[in-house]
Symmetry: none
Subunit: 138 residues, 2 copies
DNA sequence: ACCCGTTATGCAAATTCGCTGCATAACGGG
DNA sequence: CCCGTTATGCAGCGAATTTGCATAACGGGT
């Protein structure tokens, strides 16, 4: 799927530099090999929850909200694993919160010190799980 | 969607009586108004996590015997992971029991508070592992 | 109030994805 | 080694998602 990778690229671009317009972002994407129109970029930003602040796009404040509760980031690993990075010592607490949500995509979680492994059924569930967990902490 | 309702029917059929083959199940479904082939039934059972045990299909979930020893349920995640849900605090104990069985399909286990991740070699080993672990506690 | 640069959106086409049956391979008990 | 049973590659089909285009809506600056 083109969309998912494009959105990941958008995230990294936004993290890496100040981007002021969707046109600019569209151009950067194209240079990176992702051809898309401003329409699509607009919808991507909407989905990602990216917000324009002080004239440039930044990651959603949901990020800060989540960090406040111990969750730092989510990443996919393979087809059936999601790895959550947490603040040291808080992984178990975050894992409990995730378990309590009883998300249907999630098969189970195992928490370490600052990392959680979240097992999902398959690839499709993986994406849904990342989204829902992120919303949980947003 | 036909599939969801058909799977619900399958669940109720399996709960209600001993079913020995997919052919038998297919026939029962048809009598209930769900026309499907054995192919679809096979895939349904896979998705539902139904396992054939003692010659008939059963759910690998909270049966008395297993629950008494801490194991609540088994699920597949992706191709190489099996997730075991346990009663709070008993995951390590259950994991030890599984490890002691030295099942050839199992590469390793990691236990949290109430969840165990069991790594297996590949898809085929996954089904075998679910069955064997379930029998261990059944 | 009016531009104009920027962003959002209705709609239809294009693309992807899931479900299914068929044919057949793989499995496993006897 | 057979034969009943179960799993799966493949292709077709329909539904749902994604996308681009055209255009509307928005918002800051004058």
């Amino acid at each position: 799927m083109q969309k998912t990778k494009r959105q990941q690229k958008i995230m990294s671009l936004i993290r890496g530099r100040r981007i002021g317009t969707q046109q600019e972002l569209t151009a950067l994407l194209e240079r990176a090999g992702f051809v898309a129109t401003q329409s699509s970029v607009s919808r991507d930003l909407e989905e990602l929850g990216v917000v324009k602040h002080n004239g440039h796009y930044t990651l959603p404040r949901a990020a800060e909200g989540a960090a406040a509760r111990g969750l730092l980031g989510l990443d996919a690993a393979g087809d059936c694993l999601v790895v959550a990075r947490c603040e040291p010592g808080l992984a178990s607490a975050v894992a409990v919160a995730i378990d309590r949500a009883h998300l249907e995509e999630i098969v189970g979680t195992v928490a370490g010190e600052d990392t959680i492994f979240i097992a999902v059924h398959e690839r499709k569930a993986q994406r849904a799980a990342i989204k829902k967990v992120w919303e949980l902490f947003g």
